[in-house]
């Protein structure tokens, strides 16, 4: 085997082993350099993997040399390569941004360990997307969750501790439910490998044990996903976490949960069982819609901008879940596409907010007054990110909304279409509040002099902003892979 054959595992273990290295060295600057190198290496591996998968199909890697189902398999198909690419790309960009932001928000003697925890959270998420083994998902979920609780609690505001604790409770319940679900499936099939499960489940699918396992898995992933009404941990966690952490988690953690939901529902259980035999399509659709409308409404009335965008995230998750609930290929394409595009826009927006917090210390609506002149590049990034969030062409956000609307019309559900558009309207309102404050209100007389954010922050922000525009115009990569992956998923279950 050459190094190329090891790419699936390298994408995960490079950041995973970089974390203990950071702890071993325990100095801020080298730790950051290690984290930076590890995330870019992982990103490189993800790019090569996606190329490999598009050319030669699904890759299977046998860890420990044991063939599945006896050993653990890493299985990279289009969907995993696609999500892995997003996660590693965001990690790579966020790490560039991190240096100044982390230096200003975390006590210096803890920076090295902070990077270790950030790398662990990243490696855990990458591990979930690459693995083909149900129990291995749980193990990496634990790694990423524990690390996330820790890095969220490092926020400067004391309320970060409470937010992290709340997340810890909800997340642990979610993880336990997932474990119980996997246990039930193992009881009925005797296997933990996902492909093997998919092959064996139809025989026993009409048992209470499998149905209960299905319910536990769905609710557990729903908690991790912050699916309405299980989203209560999210706004606080995002609002009080350090800026780097918010940007990283908002753009990756819930996306990986969407991936897990897709994988479990459409691949392991199959479309027929998940969305037709069980009434889950309806449940997902209703919860998605309620999530979109209610969370967007709450977002309109927030003064703390991080909180506003956090509620907006809950709404965006609603769009993805709605796409899955539509149970047609266009809907699933829209969901996968929105995973990609939402990571880009929220990554850009939260990073820009991080730059503002770096200069101003906080990011409330009042701080935004007159900011358009004082931090023109950062504000321009927020405007473009906001346009993408609303779904204005030619941004990436428009493309995913477009496919979602197509999906709803395909099912003949025009009231749903209207609600989706209403959600966009609400997004317009809360983004407008930012624009109005930044460009049309004068800066208060006693406002401190503020300089534009440093270049090491602006470059990552604008990389993501650029990606928002690029993928709004050149859709063949994002849409192409998403629709192929959706066809694979929908076809796998019949």
């Amino acid at each position: 085997m050459t190094l190329i054959d090891h790419l699936p595992v390298l994408a995960v273990i490079v950041p995973l082993l970089a974390a203990p290295l950071c702890v071993l060295i325990d100095r801020a600057r080298p730790a950051w350099l290690i984290a930076l190198a590890a995330s870019w290496l992982s990103f490189g591996a993800a790019i090569l993997l996606l190329l490999q998968v598009t050319q030669s199909g699904t890759i299977s890697y046998h860890l420990g040399g044991w063939p599945p189902p006896w050993g653990i398999e890493y299985r990279i198909d289009l969907l995993s390569a696609y999500v892995l690419l997003i996660v590693t790309a965001i990690a790579a960009v966020v790490m560039v941004f991190a240096w100044h932001s982390v230096e200003s928000e975390i006590p210096s003697e803890r920076i090295a360990r902070f990077y270790a925890a950030l790398l662990l959270a990243f490696a855990g998420l990458a591990g979930i997307t690459t693995t083909g083994d149900a129990f291995n998902v749980f193990v990496f979920l634990e790694i990423s969750s524990l690390a996330s609780y820790a890095i969220i609690s490092m926020g400067r505001d004391r309320r970060a501790l409470n937010a992290a604790f709340q997340y810890l409770m909800m997340g642990t319940i979610g993880a336990t439910f997932i474990l119980i679900g996997i246990g039930f499936l193992y009881m009925m099939t005797g296997t933990l490998n996902m492909q093997d499960l998919a092959a064996l489940l139809p025989e026993v699918s009409d048992t209470r044990t499998v149905r209960a396992g299905f319910a536990f898995l769905t609710v557990g992933i729903g908690l991790k996903l912050a699916l309405f009404p299980l989203h209560l941990w999210l706004p606080n966690a995002y609002a009080y976490a350090p800026s780097t952490v918010t940007a990283f988690l908002a753009a990756t953690a819930t996306k990986v949960a969407v991936y897990a939901l897709l994988r479990v529902l459409l691949d392991v259980f199959g479309v027929e069982f998940s969305l037709q035999a069980m009434p889950l399509n309806l449940i997902l659709m209703v919860l998605g819609l309620v999530g979109i409308v209610s969370a967007s409404l709450v977002a309109v009335f927030q003064d703390d901008i991080k909180r506003m965008l956090a509620y907006s995230s809950v709404a965006q998750i609603g769009y993805m879940v709605l796409g899955i609930g539509l149970a047609n290929t266009t809907g699933v394409t829209a969901a996968i596409l929105h995973v990609f595009n939402h990571a880009l826009m929220k990554g850009a927006l939260f990073l820009a907010l991080g730059a503002i917090a770096y200069r101003l210390g906080t990011a409330t609506l009042r701080d935004f007054a007159g900011l358009g002149r004082r931090m023109p590049w950062t504000m321009a990034a927020i405007v473009i990110g906001g346009l993408s969030l609303i779904g204005v062409p030619p941004t990436a956000g428009f493309i995913s909304k477009w496919y979602l609307v197509l999906g709803t019309l395909e099912q003949g559900l025009w009231p749903v279409t209207l609600l989706v558009l209403f959600g966009s309207l609400l997004a317009l309102i809360y983004v407008w509040k930012l624009v109005e404050a930044a460009y049309f209100k004068p800066a208060p007389a006693n406002a401190p002099a503020v300089a534009e954010a440093p270049l090491s922050m602006l470059i990552p922000v604008w990389l993501l902003v650029g990606a928002n525009v690029y993928f709004g115009i050149h859709t063949d990569i994002s849409v192409g892979v998403a629709s192929q992956a959706a066809t694979q998923l929908m076809g796998a279950g019949g």
Binding site: L17, L21, V23, G64, A117, G127
Partner: protein, 301 residues
């Protein structure tokens, strides 16, 4: 129940009962872990937590109705799920028919060790165990990020929280070598009997915690300085990962131990031993680090 001390003790009893239950189900390794971790070290850690937070729980502000509904629903779902499940001990249950036969029949030949739990855990599913080791390491990092290991007057050598207890000192002095020796035995005997790195690390840490409790924080810190612990924990993970990387660079998949020696079974032996040492080091140092972090904090008035 508002007395948290009582809650912790009940937890400990619960863990002991569960360990007995696992014993009854012939899951010796799991029982061992539950007894060492659940009943043993967790109780000590929770009690040191209570020392910082206070013994009595405040009356919660929210009504207990919602949690009750959630718990009841979950319980019902669990019972519902087991209604169609295969009976306990049914030899035809899928769990015994699908992957298990190979573990049982081929395990001793392919991996070459009598304890098939260790074979599955460290070799067939060695990557999961690597992940679990990282979980422990992550937990340690999380605690250190939040609390750090503080120094204060009470961590100077020669001071103990419980005063000079002659009888305890003598008994503990006699016990500690035995505990440490037992820890080593469990570490290296995992191939043949119940045990392995996880249990050994916990037992080893227990020895040091006991020393700390009786002879004082400062004296324990002279033996194992707090600075070492996170680094040791990282080292354990790197040993495990290093074994994996070695087989990767030898042209075999990650964690394929057969790359370690000319004879594949010999390689399996060597690999399992090395990764168990990695696990042991990480578990030991992280548990001790968490204990230091909790015990080293000055109690708030």
């Amino acid at each position: 129940m508002r007395d948290l001390f009582g809650v912790v003790i009940l937890f400990s009893i619960y863990s002991f009962m569960t360990a007995a239950l696992f014993m009854d189900l012939d899951a010796v390794d799991v029982a061992f872990t539950e007894a060492a971790v659940g009943a043993g070290v967790t109780t000590v850690l929770m009690l040191s937590c209570l020392r910082l937070t206070g013994r009595w729980e405040r009356r919660p502000k929210h009504s207990p109705l919602l949690p009750l509904i959630v718990v009841a629903t979950t319980g019902t779902a669990l019972v519902y799920g087991t209604l169609d499940a295969p009976l306990l001990g049914d030899p035809n249950a899928p769990a015994h028919q699908h992957v298990a036969p190979r573990y049982i029949e081929q395990g001793p030949i392919e991996v070459g060790m009598p304890n098939m739990v260790t074979a599955v855990l460290a070799s067939y599913r060695g990557y999961d165990t690597f992940g679990e080791t990282v979980v422990i390491f992550t937990a340690g990092i999380a605690v250190l990020l939040l609390l750090g290991i503080q120094e204060g007057p009470h961590t100077r050598p020669g001071r103990t929280a419980i005063g000079d207890q002659i009888v305890l000192r003598v008994v503990v002095k006699l016990l500690i070598p035995l505990i440490l020796l037992y820890g080593l035995y469990v570490q290296f005997h995992g191939d043949f009997g119940a045990g392995g790195g996880f249990q050994a690390g916990v037992i080893f840490a227990t020895g040091f915690i006991l020393y700390d409790l009786v002879f004082g924080e400062g004296d324990a810190r002279l033996v194992v300085p707090p600075d070492w612990l996170p680094r040791l924990g990282a080292l354990g993970v790197l040993i495990y990962g290093g074994v994996g990387l070695y087989s990767l660079f030898a042209g075999k998949p990650f964690l394929d131990y057969s790359a370690l020696a000319h004879d594949p079974v010999h390689g399996q032996h060597l690999g399992v031993m090395l990764v168990e040492i990695g696990v042991g080091i990480t578990v030991f140092s992280i548990i001790l680090a968490i204990f230091y972090a909790l015990a080293g904090r000055a109690r708030r008035a």
